[in-house]
């Protein structure tokens, strides 16, 4: 083998782990949540406490993120079932304000369940 051959083998050896990581593993790190507003989906980290104001079909929903949990704190619907859902912290949990067309779903690296029945 010549020097060029060794370089080619080395290049291939270095390329292999990169391809493995980029093609075969997810890019999601830590716990996060998606906020769906109409058909638009935004992903937010649950690592930092903050309050979000999201304008929906009927008005503004206020969403709290605190200690790795997320909840609807206020919403312009009448039934307030989104608020009754309380804090969400486990992957797969979700709450929705259907009148305001806003939903929140918690994501995890490897959620135990592919879907939740209720």
């Amino acid at each position: 083998m010549t020097c060029a051959d060794y370089c080619a083998v080395l290049f291939a050896a270095l390329l292999l782990p990169y391809l493995y990581i980029s093609q075969w593993t997810g890019d999601e790190a830590g716990i996060s949540a998606t906020i769906m507003n109409g058909n638009a989906i935004t992903e937010v980290s649950l690592a930092h406490d903050h309050t979000l104001e999201v304008d929906g079909a009927r008005g503004t929903s206020i969403i709290n993120i605190e200690d790795g949990k997320i909840r609807f704190a206020a919403s312009p619907c009448l039934g307030k079932q989104c608020i009754h859902s309380g804090w969400l912290e486990h992957a797969g949990e979700f709450a929705a304000c259907l009148p305001n067309r806003i939903s929140v779903a918690v994501l995890g690296d490897e959620p135990r369940f592919d879907s939740i029945n209720f």
Partner: protein, 347 residues
């Protein structure tokens, strides 16, 4: 030298070709339709093909929603108006199939699944996307509605016509339409070449295939606490439906009133917290979950048998879990210290 370089180039090219074909993965889409949030997971190699199939499904679901909406102006509300006037309604083959399926399920459930009590459901305020807390209907109004006793037995159905001998019949397919829509969605996905998917509409779902080399894993929500009470791995094409008293409700004077109305009493059924049903057909599972919730802790085994449902889990008001033998063989409980009653007599 040149052949060796050519070999390396060939190997590298083949490697890149192999890597560029992405492995199958779950592609997710969420849709606001059917008055709820529909979550579709497709396990497929090509994202574009998965999303294209989802777009077709969305159109299908919107069509069903418009056709069978119980309180917005729709073909169904027009049918209700005509039936109230004693008229015979002309229907197409799709509507005939839909109504025939509902009529059979209603008969098999001893009319506990009763999609003709739309007036009663409206009086309870559930003909609204967003019912405010407020007083329930008066006893007089409920008694009046009950005297008319509408049911699917009042319906005469031919392949092209629909008639009723009871002017009180007002259709509301809230306990059937979602299942029917999920069945249609799954058939649409299959036609688009999708073999592995979950269609979850507001918590009720049907799966097909698997997630690669393992089954789809479903968590079943605890009816009174956060998290799941049980889980199940679906066996290919299966529907998992739950009716619970926590789904749609309002509070008044310290009492909670939910949306599953017992057609016998006119009030929300109160002998269970939730009922979970597994069946291959989503429309059947939908109607059965409602009927068995209304049937309650003593009557549900008989109604399940009549409806051909062999996998049932009913959670009583004291959190006792009642299950059929076949459900017990499939389900994995996620909680401890619970009283479980397994009912042996099944279909």
């Amino acid at each position: 030298m040149k052949p060796r370089w050519l070999s390396l180039l060939l190997i590298a090219t083949l490697s890149f070709t192999a890597c560029s074909e992405a492995p199958p993965q779950v592609h997710k889409a969420k849709l606001f339709t059917l008055g709820t949030l529909v979550d579709i997971s497709v396990f497929h190699q090509e994202k574009a093909a998965a999303l294209q199939a989802v777009t077709i499904v969305e159109t299908e679901l919107e069509t069903i929603n418009r056709q069978w909406h119980a309180w917005r102006d729709s073909p169904l509300t027009q049918i209700n108006q005509q039936l109230a006037q004693g008229k015979t309604v002309t229907i197409d083959s799709t509507s005939h199939h839909f109504l025939q399926q509902a009529q059979t399920l209603a008969a098999n459930s001893d009319q506990l699944f009763n999609p003709t009590i739309g007036s009663l459901i409206e009086q309870w305020g559930f003909h609204s996307d967003d019912r405010p807390d407020g007083a329930p209907p008066s006893k007089d109004r409920i008694d009046t509605a009950l005297k008319q006793v509408p049911s699917m037995a009042n319906i005469t159905l031919t392949t092209t016509t629909l008639a009723s001998n009871n002017p009180a019949v007002q259709f509301d397919f809230g306990a059937f339409g979602k299942g029917y829509a999920i069945d249609r969605a799954v058939e649409t996905l299959k036609l688009a070449g999708i073999k592995n998917a979950i269609v979850n509409a507001g918590g009720d779902l049907r799966t097909i295939g698997s997630k690669g080399d393992r089954p789809w894993r479903i968590g079943i929500r605890h009816p009174t606490a956060a998290g799941v009470i049980a889980s199940i791995e679906t066996d290919g094409d299966e529907s998992v439906f739950t009716s619970g008293n926590y789904e749609r409700f309002f509070d008044f004077d310290g009492s909670r009133y939910h949306h599953i109305i017992d057609p016998r009493s006119g009030y929300p059924a109160n002998d269970a917290l939730s009922v979970t049903v597994i069946h291959h057909n989503a429309a059947t599972a939908d109607a059965a979950a409602t009927a068995l919730f209304i049937a309650g802790t003593t009557q549900w085994p008989q109604i399940a048998k009549q409806m051909g449902i062999d996998k049932v889990m009913l959670i009583g008001n004291d959190l006792t879990i009642y299950m059929t033998q076949k459900m017990a063989q499939r389900i994995h409980l996620e909680i401890d210290n619970t009283q479980i009653k397994i009912i042996g007599d099944e279909t």
